[in-house]
């Protein structure tokens, strides 16, 4: 059990390291170093940077040294919580990101809860009533959920919301609360706006999960112990829910590790369409403006959050599945 946790932890750290390298590459990719970009930025606003100043900046960031030293310096500052400054906003990156990261987490979390909430009962129903009319309907809707890209779904819903109900769907707050400080009223307002983007985000993952749940449960239902339970006169509800569903739930929990990166990715895209105050629009803007510290930090933080989420889901999985606790399972 300890070995399992340690292995997962090592893998998580490895992933975070890989993400940090990729992030560093992204920051480095635009032509010229960021001091050049910074100087251009400053001279655009009228101030002149002296050569010595530029040189001092270069030394500070270690730009005159080999790439791996630069990476080392950068990562040390990141670990200390200094992500650099956003050139476009002229403020520390952490300040620019602010609440938006939490909004991303809130939406992703809500989407996963909804995914589970929809997929579980439908998966069970589709397996128990295999080849029924409703099973076909759910299978079809599931396929559509997989086939329609998130952003397209958001776009279509936004269009029909506008056309049929004259609603401007978008944002996470009403205009009264947009800039207001946090209060219970604002939280309630968020709760009212959250379901739509969360459902859109949840739909694609839901379809996959329904299919997994259905297939797993179908396998379980064919097992002799279910027949025994029925032969013993167990009520159908209990015969299904007591053991087969629990056994089928195992892989269900393990998919959360794949679901999370997927949902986080999706949240970026639908935030752009529905103009939600998550890191999505900020990331796009930063990338288009080549504000690389901001963009890199967002990619890094999203990656780290996903890894942490996956790690937590591994722990949950361990809690659910005795085979993993006993070290019998991968």
């Amino acid at each position: 059990m300890i070995a399992y946790i340690v292995r997962r932890l090592i893998l998580a750290l490895l992933t975070i390291w890989a993400i940090s390298v990729v992030t560093f590459v992204i920051i480095q990719l635009p032509p010229g170093d960021f001091v050049d970009a910074y100087i251009v930025q400053l001279s655009a606003s009228g101030s002149v940077v002296r050569f010595e100043e530029a040189q001092a900046l270069r030394q500070l960031y270690g730009l005159d040294q080999p790439v791996w030293v630069q990476y080392g310096k950068w990562i040390i500052r990141v670990v200390q919580g200094d992500f650099g400054a956003s050139m476009e906003w002229n403020r520390p990156v952490t300040e620019v990101i602010g609440d938006r990261l939490w909004m991303t987490i809130v939406i992703s979390f809500a989407a996963i809860i909804i995914t589970w909430g929809i997929a579980l009962p439908i998966g069970i129903y589709s397996a128990v009533r295999q080849y029924s009319f409703a099973d076909y309907i759910f299978t079809f809707v599931g396929f559509v959920g997989i086939a329609v890209p998130n952003f397209l779904l958001a776009l279509i819903i936004m269009y029909f919301g506008f056309k049929l109900f004259d609603l401007n769907i978008g944002g996470l707050f009403s205009s009264d609360y947009q800039l207001a400080p946090w209060s219970w009223g604002k939280v309630w307002d968020l709760m009212k706006h959250l379901p739509l983007p969360a459902v859109i985000l949840a739909l694609a993952g839901t379809a996959q999960l329904i299919r997994i749940m259905r297939a797993n449960l179908l396998d379980e239902l064919r097992r002799p112990y279910v027949t025994t339970a029925r032969a013993r006169g167990l009520v159908e509800w209990r015969a299904v829910m007591k053991y087969p569903v629990r056994a089928a739930l195992n892989p269900f929990a393990s998919t959360i590790g794949y679901l999370l990166p997927f949902v986080v990715s999706g949240s970026i895209v639908i935030s752009l369409v529905l103009s939600l105050p998550t890191v999505g629009p900020l990331l796009l803007r930063a990338l288009l403006a080549q504000d690389m510290f901001l963009a890199g930090t967002i990619v890094l933080l999203l990656g780290i959050l996903t890894v942490i989420g996956t790690f937590i889901s591994d722990l949950i999985l361990m809690w659910i599945d005795p085979r993993i606790r006993a070290g019998m399972h991968e």
């Binding site: 490895l14 992933t15 997989i146 999370l260 990166p261 990715s265 895209v269 990338l287 996903t306």
Partner: protein
């Protein structure tokens, strides 16, 4: 006596069985797939879409790049199939521009008195069929008229370009980017998955960990970062190739997983042991004996990887980080439909969503059918 009857009966049974016994894995898969109607229908649909990609220019009506500011946001024209006398003569009404005296905007309205008849194989803008044959023929157009004149089956965009023609060329770009991307992923997947499954041990562990790491990174922010770093002065072709590489760098993991799984399963099979004992070389065992028997699995994995590639490209281009105009792809076209103002003004721009959804659905059904057919026990 009974022995003689059995002797007569045996050949009858074996005729069918022998066919199965000597059939290759691909043939077996094909026979099983044929019973899966939805998958076959989807396969036909996919082929049709690729035909559109091949004949995109031929199916286009006006040059997809020809702008005309006076014709921005013209709604799709209705085709009238019959003339007044009841004869079958498909035509559209010509568009008459009229200045709205209140808004001073040019408003187009169909003019029923001025008919434009449709014709097959008309001359239009020049292009090269298959990139070789220079021609001006197009499938559909206005009979004896300037093509730009009046045929907008799906309306026009803000710059007055014909949405139908653009859609045809976008289909070509989006479908081929999927193919190239999958080819790259396939190469990486088969190579790394094969090594992983064949050698096992430490190499396998390392490759499996790499795959796990790649799969736990949210892809969209990563793609966005990489795609945004492409230099602005790159040509359309360069951007196209770079985007394909970026997408396939992440997309290979699933294919590698499939290949590795099959290698591990087949390594223990009797026929592989038999080949080894017969003294076949390692390469011969892999390519002559192992690869053919999991070919169908690879095909199934490909047909499930293709739609994912297409979605990726469409999403990136939609965000303005993938292909950029003047390149035309589904994502680029959907970019025009991004904000609610444009949609309210020209809802027909959203028509691009239809081929995207249909193709991805078709690929998924086909891939599912193929996967079932490839693996009767899976």
């Amino acid at each position: 006596m009974s022995g003689a009857v059995a002797d007569q009966a045996v050949p009858l049974v074996t005729a069918a069985e022998e066919k199965i016994a000597i059939a290759s894995q691909l043939q077996l898969t094909w026979w099983r797939l044929r019973r899966h109607r939805l998958a076959v229908a989807s396969g036909v649909l996919v082929i049709l879409f690729y035909l559109v990609a091949v004949f995109a220019d031929f199916l286009a009506i006006t040059s997809p790049h020809a702008t005309n500011s006076a014709r921005s946001y013209i709604p799709p024209q209705t085709i009238h199939w019959f003339d007044e006398d009841g004869s079958f003569k498909p035509h559209v009404y010509a568009l008459k521009g009229r200045r709205d005296m209140r808004t001073f905007k040019l408003v187009y309205a169909p003019d029923p008195s001025d008919k434009r008849y449709l014709a097959w194989f008309v001359e239009g803008y020049g292009y090269e069929l298959f990139g070789l044959i220079a021609t001006k023929r197009h499938l559909l157009g206005i009979d004896r008229g300037v093509p730009e004149d009046a045929l907008f089956l799906l309306g026009t965009d803000q710059l007055g370009r014909d949405v139908w023609s653009r859609l045809m060329l976008a289909t070509r770009t989006s479908l081929t980017i999927g193919l190239v991307g999958v080819a790259l992923s396939l190469f990486l997947g088969v190579l790394l998955g094969g090594i992983s499954g064949l050698y096992g041990g430490a190499i396998d562990t390392v490759i499996q960990r790499i795959i796990e790491v790649l799969r736990s990174i949210p892809t969209i922010p990563l793609w966005m970062g990489l795609a945004a770093a492409l230099p602005n002065d790159w040509s359309v072709i360069q951007v196209y190739m770079a985007i394909t590489v970026i997408i396939s760098l992440i997309g290979w993991t699933e294919l590698a997983r499939v290949v590795r799984g099959r290698f591990l399963a087949l390594r223990e099979e009797d026929f592989v042991t038999a080949a080894e004992l017969a003294g076949a070389s390692r390469l011969r065992i892999i390519f002559r004996h192992m690869v053919p028997s999991f070919m169908s699995h690879i095909i199934a994995a490909i047909s499930l990887a293709l739609p994912a590639m297409i979605i990726s490209e469409t999403t990136l281009s939609f965000l303005g980080l993938g292909l950029r105009p003047p390149a035309i792809s589904w994502g680029v076209l959907l970019q025009d439909a991004q904000d609610i103002q444009a949609l309210a003004l020209a809802p027909w721009l959203l028509v691009v969503a239809v081929p995207v959804i249909v193709v991805i659905l078709a690929f998924n059904f086909l891939g599912d059918g193929l996967r079932d057919a490839a693996d009767p026990y899976g």
